[in-house]
């Protein structure tokens, strides 16, 4: 009764402090560590793709350690090419080679392994013939050849492989393998340029129409339709290019090789258009309305406004769109595998067959042997692709967006 507020609580600094709750703390930690996973994945991708190419850099000790661990289960890994597991058919054979392997050095056990591999590989058609069709009928012999190469290849060291990188021939499987990355690089570049020459203007013009000229109703129809193109699996686009486009353009231009850089470029343009379109459209639409209004008020026409005011203002965003388009084309595998002809020829003619980096990995990885130079070279190409797409994305992200924000805020 003395106090006018009998239920009055006294709030001290202590009682107002946030209480510590274990469940809250745990939830936050768990959630942020899951979020950390996506950062970890990027690192892991880089580490593990790069790790497999380490033998190229002369880390033979490490490679040795790896291959020794691998050789216990090695015989089956070596038969990757056939896409079947020999392990299930003859698990007993693994005991013996593994024991003989351990004390020995790297060079000789692989030789010891040879007959075993031959045996299991030879047994394959019998046990698996009905179950699994062999991808490469001659992969068994190829594997053996490849193992021989591995032995000699590693002995001669990494230097020889490096020196072949700058040659123009890509002959990975031979007595004297040459890994001329130049030929592959030129091929990739050719396809990328052709694809971007087609996709860039087309997608940007379409984006300009959608964001500057189209009525709202049309916009609502056009955008989802073009974005639907992104839902086409690349294998479908590759298949279409291979079956339909190749014949169609051959009738027009009359070139010799049906599948070539031009067909590959056209098909990849189809894959790149939705990416370039979507990002350019976003960039164009995010130009402040005041820009448009000011321009129209000064008497400029709609087209003048679009091309002299909005487009220049959105240039960084469109640049980002083109960069990401290049990234998509550069790393595209299935379309390159199916539509470019896959011959590593060195020529400037757009109607010659080419072989891209990604297609090389896609088509040859299944035939390589774990730990072999060829295997490492393919992983090395993979890390190059990864680094390249990482840089493209970083540039698009930081440089371009930073400029865009500065521009619109008038700084």
């Amino acid at each position: 009764m003395n106090s006018p507020h009998p239920n009055k609580q006294t709030f001290t600094k202590e009682s107002l402090k946030k209480q510590f709750r274990l469940s809250e703390f745990l939830a936050e930690k768990v959630i942020s560590s899951v979020a950390f996973l996506s950062i970890a994945v990027i690192f892991l991708i880089f580490i593990f793709v790069f790790k497999e190419s380490l033998p190229l850099f002369g880390f033979n000790d490490k490679a040795k350690a790896n291959t020794e661990i691998q050789t216990t289960t090695g015989a089956a890994i070596e038969t990757y090419g056939s896409e079947t597991s020999t392990a299930d058919s003859e698990p007993e054979t693994y005991g013996a080679p593994a024991e003989s392997l351990e004390p020995e050095t790297y060079g000789s056990p692989t030789e010891d392994l040879n007959p075993v591999v031959e045996e299991t590989a030879a047994a394959e058609p019998e046990t698996y013939g009905t179950v699994t069709e062999d991808l490469n009928p001659d992969s068994a012999s190829e594997d053996v050849v490849a193992i021989d190469e591995k032995v000699t290849g590693n002995k001669e060291g990494a230097d020889k492989t490096w020196s072949t990188f700058f040659s123009t021939e890509w002959v990975p499987v031979s007595d004297n393998p040459r890994f001329g990355l130049i030929a592959l690089f030129i091929g990739t570049l050719k396809v990328t340029i052709i694809a971007m020459l087609i996709a860039g203007p087309l997608a940007i013009l379409a984006a300009v129409y959608t964001s500057c000229f189209a009525s709202n109703r049309r916009k609502e129809i056009i955008k989802p339709i073009i974005e639907m193109l992104a839902a086409f699996p690349s294998v479908v686009i590759g298949f279409f290019a291979m079956m339909v486009l190749a014949t169609f353009f051959q009738d027009i231009f009359g070139y010799d090789s049906r599948l070539n850089a031009f067909i590959g470029g056209v098909a990849m343009a189809l894959a790149a258009i939705p990416i370039i379109y979507t990002i350019s459209e976003d960039a164009l639409s995010s130009v402040p309305k005041t820009y448009t209004e000011a321009s129209l008020a000064l008497g400029a026409s709609k087209a003048q406004t679009a091309f002299s005011v909005i487009l220049p203002a959105a240039t960084p965003g469109i640049f980002a769109a083109l960069l990401l388009g290049v990234g998509r084309v550069f790393g595209e595998t299935m379309i390159a595998l199916m539509a470019t002809g896959n011959a590593a020829l060195l020529s400037a003619n757009p109607f010659e067959s080419v072989r891209t980096f990604a297609a090389t990995i896609g088509s040859e990885m299944a035939e390589t042997v774990f730990g072999e130079t060829h295997y490492s070279v393919l992983f090395f190409i993979g890390s190059l692709l990864f680094i390249f797409s990482f840089i493209l994305n970083a540039v698009a992200e930081f440089y371009v967006k930073g400029r865009l924000i500065k521009k619109f805020q008038g700084k």
Partner: protein, 314 residues
């Protein structure tokens, strides 16, 4: 007296008689042509594949095994393989994607460096070429985790250290993670701030708010993300080239350590490595048609759900 200039019409413009600027019309027409061209290409691809694939496309084609060295018969195992792939993939990717999105919208501070790094990683994941995921699957899941599991639990006998469904699905899960994160994040952003504040004001803790207010509101976003991811995962071939896809299997996969057939991979091998490419052409087109129907219809569903979310947000 000077002649008054009309405000409504530009005296310097060349007109085509109907009072419209010729140049203006040409420029607008050019951009319009680009749109028409892109849509035409899309319609042509769809049209040709439907036209060529329709002869072979039937229930029997979908529900039967390939026969006669894959020159006859259907695509049943490839379809089932694709289904198993996307299911295992979703089980792996959806929880991680959802939790990451919840972190980004609910926990991350605006200027947090960590959140910026997470966002950057997600966007990088989205642009990394799909073949790199295949290499990663081979180098990490098969060679590292798989062989590690074999030597730990399987006495060094080969079971997990080889291409199989599990590794292919996990590889695909990494590839589709950004798709899910972006969709869920978008859905979470449409939940009004007032709802969260009301919940917090009533004394709920942050985690309770997320569990009872934010999460239920994001279900549709999770669904969109999952559907888009499934559509993507069903169509991608490069990541599974050497992590588990098989040329031909006479039986359906029985466990996660088996290889599997896949629709996209089936299209690829049938058109490039088939014993008789000409003869199997109808099968190839029909398989492509099935794949296309699968991915496009899933995409359409996702687009519809998404536009509903957006409308609700308005």
């Amino acid at each position: 007296m000077e002649k008054a200039i009309s405000i409504t019409e530009n005296p310097f413009a060349k007109t085509n008689g109907r009072g419209k600027d010729v140049k203006e019309t040409a420029v607008v027409g050019l951009t319009q042509t680009a749109v028409v061209l892109i849509i035409a290409i899309l319609v042509i691809i769809l049209g040709i594949i439907i036209y060529q694939g329709r002869t072979k496309f039937s229930w029997e084609f979908i529900s039967s095994f390939p026969t006669d060295g894959m020159t006859q018969g259907g695509i049943f195992p490839a379809l089932i393989g694709t289904f198993i792939l996307v299911i295992v993939m979703s089980i792996a990717a959806v929880p991680f994607g959802t939790i990451t999105a919840i972190y980004l919208t609910e926990y991350a501070h605006e200027n947090s460096k960590f959140a910026a790094a997470v966002r950057f990683s997600i966007r990088t994941l989205a642009v990394v070429p799909s073949i790199i995921f295949g290499l990663f699957g081979l180098g990490f899941f098969i060679q590292f985790v798989g062989t590690g599991m074999d030597s730990a639990f399987n006495d060094g006998q080969l079971r997990w250290g080889q291409p199989n469904i599990l590794w292919a699905s996990l590889t695909m899960a990494l590839l589709t993670l950004p798709v899910i994160i972006v969709s869920v994040e978008e859905a979470l952003k449409t939940i009004p701030r007032e709802l969260r504040e009301a919940s917090l004001a009533l004394g709920a803790t942050k985690w309770q708010t997320i569990k009872h207010v934010v999460f239920p509101g994001s279900i549709s976003g999770i669904m969109t993300g999952t559907i888009l991811a499934v559509s993507r995962g069903a169509g991608e071939v490069a990541p599974i080239l050497f992590t588990g896809a098989a040329y031909y299997l006479a039986t359906l996969p029985g466990s996660l350590s088996d290889q599997f057939m896949n629709l996209g991979y089936h299209v690829y091998i049938m058109s490039t490595q088939s014993s008789d490419v000409e003869k199997t052409m109808p099968i190839q087109f029909a398989t492509t048609l099935v794949l296309l129907i699968l991915t496009l219809s899933l995409n359409l569903v996702a687009v519809i759900i998404r536009s509903r979310i957006r409308r609700k947000a308005k």
